[in-house]
Amino acid sequence: ENDDGDKGDMGAGGVKTGDGVTAETIDLGVLTDMTGVYATLGKSVTQAQQLYVEQTNAGGGICGRKLKLTVRDHAYDPQKAVAAYTELEPKVLGFAQFIGSPFVAAVEQRVDGNKGLVLPQAWSANLLGSPYVRVVGSTYDLETINAIDFLMKEKGLKKGDKLGHVYFEGDYGENALKGSQHMAEEAGLTVVEQKIKPTDNDMTAQVSALKKAGVKAVVISAGPRQAASLVGVAAAGSFDVPVIGNNSAFAPQLLATQSGPALMKNYYVASPTLPIGADTAAAKKLVADYKKAHPEDSLDNGVVAGWTAASVFGEALKKACAEKDLTREGVGKALLTIDDFDAGFGVPQDFTDPKAPSSKESVILQPDKKATGGMKVVQQPGAADAATNYTTGG
């Protein structure tokens, strides 16, 4: 069941192929969570990727082969996740999506062994380092650095100030915290930490604590509802400091709730790419197609993330095809040659260095009812100096 591509046989058009690739199809795996805690993300990402596959196939597929996605919903259960990976791994070329960084970590060893490319839907620096597990877009620590940089440049946060950071227990929050700690050293801030769990929905106590500490701004690395609660409470308690969150800390659905106004007032979101509502041709097309395919579902940055990841995989396949090598190794190599790929959301991705994320840039967005996907750009893509000379402690 181990498979170095050299054993791979010659397929259609003299292309070397291995696991998951036949003369007609290229099989890709999707390990997602559509019934567990990350259901919101999983749904959008998966649907976007399915959309990408349909369109690519409509356009004749890649390398004369049709793409095929096999979806497994592990509901964020480690046993199911690992089982599903074990099941799909021999059948597929690679994984266009894998939600849940602990699980990715769990199979990392095996990935290095079987060389099947994995694009996790998680932006933790801990995932960096393997040539076959590649993070698409800037990691949470970088994103946080850019976010704080924005606060300092635009929102009057200055040296010596206190900065509140509310973060999830776990990979996401802790990686983001690394960012703010780094930034704190760089810019002479003091971070007031508030660790929370996904089960905490009411941020009143946290706000009181931050208020007591007298913070001048708040970074939140948690889920949308925690962000909403935090901003809402802060606003209601006439504690109006700017709040900025990571890309996972917002969902357009929130704008319909009564915390909407507060969110639009002083909440910002740092994101690895332009929002779904960006006015680039690609974005507009995606919006249109996605709306057509899933009229009732909301357009969030999960869609963008899914689409980007899928197109990155597609790009790698195309390059590999050009090299006449569709084996796992071939695709891996191909990906390493991609140094400036833009899926249409304004941020070039560079995959030449497995130790680094594919980008260090972030876009700063602000919730806005009118904008498609509920977010408008307030700062174009860019990387803070602190970010560019920060090496992620993978």
Binding site: T46, R110, E296
Partner: protein, 374 residues
């Protein structure tokens, strides 16, 4: 899903009770046949199935443990996952060679495994004073505290546990053989980690099953049941209640610890999310579904509860009335949740006394009887 039966039935057999009324010889034949099948499986099944089987075996060991405690002694425990965690992480810490930056004592892996089990037992012993004072639902939910403490530690004691992303599990190393991906080809079948572990799992499960059965059928088992049925009377009859409760708690924790070690070896990585409340509840579900107080029940229940979700996920596309995600209908994931929930309810309602009663039913009709020995 013929595979289910194929995977469950044999797994249940080696320690399974021979259904009353059936000729012994027949049962023996069945037993040996089952054993033979089990030994042959790695040559035929692919990795997914073997892995699933191993998960089931580990679950079975853990389930036997909690059945000694909850089924036979009547001490409801929702903290089982905690002791599994101790087993799993204990093994990593003891066997790990700290070059991943985490604490590791680098002991020989077999020793580490043994000590990890002992460690779990110790933890059980430390908790048993509390366990000794409480009973029923109170004890159950008090043990929930263990889960939350456990989760807290797993996430925060970074050097020991590796935090949220967990830590790698050093492969087992027995008689110069390493149970990792490095392949040995036996009879033209490449043997990877799961193939090799399969046999370890079988041996452990068999051992644990027989041991527990001996305990249940012997003097300790009677004392345990007495404590469950009438604590005061048990004392007057000469059973040192407190000591027995503590003893059983330790024993069941050790079973959990062993299950933890085996799981860790199969996962090849321990992650905190796994050892949550859901896991504890699943273990309770296993023994209830299988049959309280009996070894065979624990094994059967474990097989069902741990295999069903994996199978449902695998065949989710094939499930009835599912529609592709996004088309508004029931997604495969949801369908498998429905079936799982329905199965739990149905088995408990329509097989009171658990799976083991299917066989026993005809011979003695006393529905819903917990705590008869395997």
């Amino acid at each position: 899903m013929s595979e289910v039966t194929e995977a469950v039935a044999p797994a249940a057999r080696p320690v399974g009770r021979t259904p009353p009324g059936r000729p012994r010889a027949y049962a023996w034949a069945a037993g040996t046949a089952g054993a033979a099948v089990l030994l042959a499986l790695p040559f035929y099944l692919d990795r997914f199935w073997l892995q699933a089987g191993l998960f089931a075996m580990a679950a079975a060991i853990g389930a036997i443990g909690i059945n000694l405690l909850t089924g036979a002694t009547g001490q409801l425990s929702m903290g089982h996952a905690f002791f599994l965690a101790i087993g799993a992480y204990g093994y990593c810490v003891l066997a790990g060679d700290g070059d991943d930056g985490l604490t590791g004592l680098g002991l020989p892996t077999w020793l580490a495994a043994a000590l990890a089990v002992a460690l779990a037992g110790l933890a059980g012993g430390l908790f048993s004073p509390i366990a000794g004072r409480l009973s029923g639902a109170y004890l159950g939910i008090a043990t929930l505290a263990l889960i939350f403490i456990g989760q807290h530690v797993l996430f925060n004691a970074h050097d020991l546990t590796g935090g949220s992303n967990g830590r790698d599990v050093p492969p087992l190393n027995l008689f110069g053989m390493t149970f990792d991906e490095s392949e040995v080809v036996i009879a033209a079948v490449p043997f990877g980690s799961v193939e090799k572990l399969w046999y370890v799992g079988l041996v452990l499960l068999l051992g644990c099953g027989l041991f527990a059965r001996g305990v249940l059928r012997g003097r300790p088992g009677r004392a345990m049941n007495a404590i469950r049925d009438h604590r005061v009377a048990a004392g007057v009859l000469g059973v040192p209640v407190a000591r027995y409760r503590a003893g059983v708690f330790v024993l069941s924790s050790m079973y959990a610890g062993l299950a933890g070690v085996l799981l860790a070896l199969v996962f090849q990585r321990t992650v905190p999310d796994y050892f949550g409340m859901t896991l504890s509840l699943e273990y309770l579900a296993m023994i209830v579904i299988g049959g309280l107080g009996s070894v065979a029940g624990a094994v059967a229940g474990a097989a069902l509860v741990s295999l069903l979700p994996q199978l449902l996920t695998r065949y989710s596309d094939a499930l009835p009335l599912v529609s592709a995600p996004g088309t508004g209908g029931i997604t495969p994931g949801e369908a498998s949740r429905y079936l799982y929930g329905a199965a739990v309810v149905a088995v408990v309602l329509f097989l009171p006394g658990g799976l083991v009663r299917i066989a026993a039913r005809r011979s003695r009709p006393r529905p819903g009887t917990p705590g008869e020995e395997a």
